[in-house]
C-alpha cells in the first residue's frame, strides 16, 4: 500500500469520525428527551419571546436532519452562532481568542512531562527491581492517582497561602494569565505551577509505559548484539533500548496532546483561573450557555480527531518499519 493512499484513507476516516461526532453532539443537545431544546438554549429565565425566536432561528419545528444542517452551517460555515446568555457574543471567535492560553498551558506541560518521564523511565529501567526503581514506580503511581484539580488546589494553597511569604514561593504571581507578548517573564511565572500540575499525571503514565517498554526491549536480541559489540551499558540503554521504545511514546503523546488541547486541560484551567478554551466551557457550564458549549465541544473534538489523524500519518511516515514495507 502506498504512503499516499494510506494518508488519503486516514483523512477520509478522519472526516467520517468528525461527521459522527457532530451528529452525536447535535443529538445530545437537540434530541434528548426531557426539556424543550429552545428553552435550554435560551438559558435561565429567558422570556417566551426569546424561546420562540430561538425555535425559529434553529428551525426547531423542522425535521431533525434540517436542524442538524442549520446548526452545522452556523457553527462551522458561517460561524455566527451567538450566545443568549452573554447577549450577542459571537461564540466561535471567542473560542479562537481563548485558544492561545490553552496552547501555552499544554505546550509547557508537554515539554515538562516528556523530559521528566524519559528521566523516570530510563532511570527505573536502568535500576530495575532495585530501590530507585521501586521508589520511582510508587511515585509514578501516586502521580497518576492524584486528581489534577485537587493537586491544583493543594499547589495554590501552598504557593498562594501557606508558603507564599517565604523565599520558596514569593515569586508566584496571583492566579490568572498574562499573554506572552505583554510580559514574557510574567507569562512564564504564571504558568510554571500550572505546567507542573498538569504534567504530573502524565509523567507518571509515560514513565511507567516507558519503563515497561525499555524493560521489554532489553530482552530483545538486538540488545544482546549491542552489548556484544562492546557498547557501554548506558549507551545500550539509551541509543538502542530507549530509541526503540520512543515510537510507542510518541504515538501516545500525540493522542494526549490533542486530548488536552481539546478539553482535557479544563480542570487545570479552572483551578488556576487561566482563561483558555476549557475555562470558557466551564463558564458556559455554570451560565448554562448552550451555544458556547456546543461550539467548544464541536471544535475541540474536531481538533482531537485531526490531531489523531496527524499522529497516525506521521507515524506511517517516520517509523521505518511501517514505511516501504
Amino acid at each position: 500500500m502506498s504512503l499516499g493512499f494510506t494518508i488519503v484513507k486516514r483523512l477520509a476516516h478522519m472526516v467520517f469520525v468528525m461527521f459522527g461526532i457532530s451528529v452525536l453532539v447535535f443529538l445530545i443537545f437537540f434530541a434528548t428527551p426531557g426539556a424543550d431544546p429552545a428553552a435550554r438554549i435560551a438559558g435561565r429565565n429567558a422570556s417566551p419571546q426569546t424561546v420562540a425566536l430561538i425555535r425559529k432561528e434553529f428551525g426547531l419545528d423542522k425535521p431533525l436532519p434540517v436542524q442538524y444542517l442549520r446548526m452545522m452551517d452556523r457553527l462551522v460555515i458561517r460561524r455566527d452562532l451567538t450566545s443568549y446568555v452573554n447577549l450577542g457574543e459571537k461564540v466561535v471567535p471567542t473560542i479562537f481568542r481563548a485558544a492561545p492560553v490553552t496552547l501555552s498551558l499544554v505546550f509547557g506541560a508537554a515539554v515538562i512531562w516528556i523530559v521528566f518521564s524519559i528521566l523516570v523511565g530510563v532511570l527505573a529501567a536502568a535500576f530495575k527491581d532495585r530501590t530507585l526503581d521501586r521508589l520511582l514506580m510508587i511515585l509514578s503511581l501516586i502521580g497518576i492517582s492524584i486528581p489534577v484539580f485537587w493537586l491544583g488546589e493543594v499547589v495554590n494553597l501552598v504557593s498562594q497561602g501557606l508558603l507564599h511569604n517565604t523565599w520558596l514561593f514569593s515569586w508566584v504571581p496571583p492566579l490568572g494569565y498574562v499573554p506572552l507578548h505583554r510580559d514574557p517573564a510574567l507569562w512564564f511565572k504564571s504558568l510554571v505551577l500550572p505546567w507542573f500540575t498538569l504534567a504530573l499525571a502524565f509523567i507518571g503514565i509515560y514513565g511507567r509505559v516507558l519503563r515497561a517498554n525499555i524493560v521489554e526491549a532489553m530482552q530483545e536480541d538486538y540488545i544482546r548484539l549491542a552489548r556484544a559489540k562492546g557498547l557501554p551499558e548506558a549507551q545500550v540503554l539509551i541509543r538502542h533500548a530507549l530509541r526503540c521504545s520512543m515510537i510507542a511514546i510518541f504515538t501516545l503523546f500525540g493522542l494526549d496532546f490533542g486530548a488536552l488541547v481539546g478539553g482535557g486541560a479544563l480542570l487545570t484551567e479552572v483551578v488556576f483561573g487561566l482563561p483558555g478554551v476549557g475555562y470558557l466551557t466551564y463558564q458556559a457550564l455554570t451560565n448554562l450557555d448552550l451555544p458556547m458549549i456546543m461550539a467548544t465541544v464541536t471544535y475541540a473534538s474536531f481538533f482531537v480527531v485531526s490531531a489523531n489523524a496527524m499522529v497516525d500519518i506521521l507515524y506511517s511516515v517516520f517509523d521505518p518499519r511501517v514505511r516501504n514495507d
Binding site: 469520525v17 434528548t32 492524584i146 488546589e153 493543594v154 479552572v270 466551557t281 473534538s301
Partner: protein, 354 residues
C-alpha cells in the same frame, strides 16, 4: 576405574537411583491451575495485600457512616448548622465564628478529637468528618456501579464485534471510534449539562436531575471504548487461534465456543480492568462533581466536598484536603491492585526460564 566406582554402590542405593531415572518428569507449574497460580501470585504481592486491606477499611468505615454520624458526631451531616455550638476545651464555641476583620464567618477548625467536628465544619457548619464518610459511600458506589456498566457494555460490544465480525463489527467499530475520539470531559459535560439540568423523561420513566443514576450512567458510558477496543482485539485473536479453529472443525456451536474458549480468556482481561477502571471512574466522578455536573445535592461525594471547600481553601484547607487525600489513597490502592492482577494474569508477563 569408573566400573569399580559403580560396583561399590549398594543394591538399595541403586534401586533408589533407578527410581529417580525412570520417574516421569513432572511439569513444574502446569500442575497448578491458571487461576490458582494467579491468585497465589497476588497473595504473595505484599503491596497488593496492603491495598486490599486499605480498600476494605475504607469501605467498611464508609458503610458505617450513619453510625459515626449518630454515635460520634451527634449531628446530621446534611443539615446546615450555622447557629450551633461545639464544646472545645470545656467551652461552647460557635460553629461559625466571625472573622477577626468582621467580614463573614469562618467555620470551626478541626478539634482532632473523636467526637463532633473532629475535622472541623464546612461552609454550612456541617461536620466534615461525617460528610467525608457519607461522601465516600457515594464516591465508591458511583465508581463501582459505573465500572459495572462500563465493563458490561464493553464486553457485549467487544465480543459481538470480535466474534461475529462482518457488518456487526463494522457498525460497532465505527460507534466506538466516534466515542473514543470524543474528548472525555467534553462528552461528559455535554451529557451532564443536558441531563442534570432537566432530568430525562422517556414515556413513563422519569429520572430526576439529582438522581445518582445520571452520573453513574454518564461515567459508565464515556469509557466504554477504552475497554471494548482491547476486548474486541483479544476476541478477534482468539477467534482466529488454533484451538478455536479446532473446536469449530469438531462442530462446536458458537455458544459453546464462546463459553468454553472466549469467555475464560476475556474474564482475565476484565479482572485486570476492574480496579483500573474503578480508579479512573472515581477520579472522573470527583472531577465532574468538582465542576458541578456530577453528583448533585443533597447527595455528597468526595468531589462535591472538595468543591464545597474551595472557597475555604486558605482558611480551612482541611475541608478540601481531606476528601482529596481519601480519593488519592483509594485510587492508589486500586491501581496497585490492578498492577498486581495484571502481573499475575497477563501471560506476557510470565517468565520463561532458560
Amino acid at each position: 576405574m569408573a566400573s569399580e566406582i559403580g560396583a561399590a554402590i549398594s543394591d538399595q542405593d541403586y534401586a533408589r537411583v533407578l527410581d529417580a531415572w525412570t520417574a516421569p518428569e513432572l511439569p513444574a507449574s502446569a500442575a497448578q491451575g491458571y487461576w490458582h497460580a494467579a491468585l497465589a501470585k497476588v497473595r504473595r504481592n505484599r503491596a497488593a495485600m496492603v491495598a486490599v486491606v486499605a480498600l476494605f477499611l475504607f469501605l467498611t468505615s464508609c458503610v458505617m457512616a450513619p453510625l459515626y454520624a449518630h454515635l460520634v458526631a451527634h449531628i446530621n451531616p446534611f443539615k446546615s448548622n450555622l447557629d450551633g455550638t461545639v464544646l472545645i476545651g470545656g467551652k461552647q464555641v460557635p460553629v461559625m465564628q466571625s472573622a477577626s476583620n468582621g467580614l463573614g464567618v469562618t467555620p470551626v477548625g478541626p478539634t482532632w478529637r473523636f467526637g463532633p467536628y473532629m475535622l472541623g465544619a464546612d461552609g454550612q457548619g456541617r461536620d466534615v468528618a461525617a460528610r467525608l464518610l457519607y461522601g465516600g459511600r457515594v464516591s465508591l458506589l458511583v465508581g463501582a456501579a459505573s465500572t459495572v456498566i462500563c465493563l458490561s457494555f464493553a464486553v457485549l460490544l467487544g465480543i459481538a464485534a470480535g466474534f461475529y465480525g462482518g457488518i456487526i463489527n463494522r457498525v460497532i467499530s465505527v460507534m466506538l471510534d466516534i466515542l473514543w475520539a470524543f474528548p472525555i470531559y467534553l462528552l461528559a459535560i455535554s451529557l451532564s449539562i443536558i441531563l442534570i439540568n432537566s432530568g430525562i423523561r422517556i414515556g413513563p420513566l422519569v429520572v430526576h436531575s439529582d438522581d445518582l443514576i445520571l452520573p453513574i450512567a454518564i461515567i459508565g458510558i464515556i469509557y466504554v471504548p477504552y475497554v471494548a477496543r482491547p476486548i474486541r482485539a483479544q476476541v478477534m485473536t482468539l477467534r482466529r487461534s488454533d484451538f478455536v479453529m479446532a473446536s469449530i472443525c469438531l462442530g462446536a456451536s458458537d455458544l459453546r465456543i464462546l463459553r468454553r474458549e472466549i469467555l475464560p480468556n476475556v474474564a482475565s482481561t476484565l479482572i485486570v480492568f476492574t480496579p483500573i477502571m474503578m480508579a479512573l471512574n472515581i477520579i472522573t466522578e470527583a472531577s465532574l462533581s468538582f465542576l458541578g455536573i456530577g453528583v448533585q445535592p443533597p447527595s455528597a461525594s468526595w468531589g462535591t466536598i472538595i468543591r464545597d471547600g474551595e472557597h475555604l481553601l486558605y482558611t480551612r484547607p482541611l475541608v478540601s484536603i481531606a476528601p482529596g487525600l481519601a480519593i488519592v489513597i483509594t485510587v492508589v490502592a486500586l491501581n496497585i491492585l490492578g498492577d498486581a492482577l495484571r502481573d499475575a494474569l497477563d501471560p506476557r508477563a510470565k517468565l520463561t526460564l532458560h
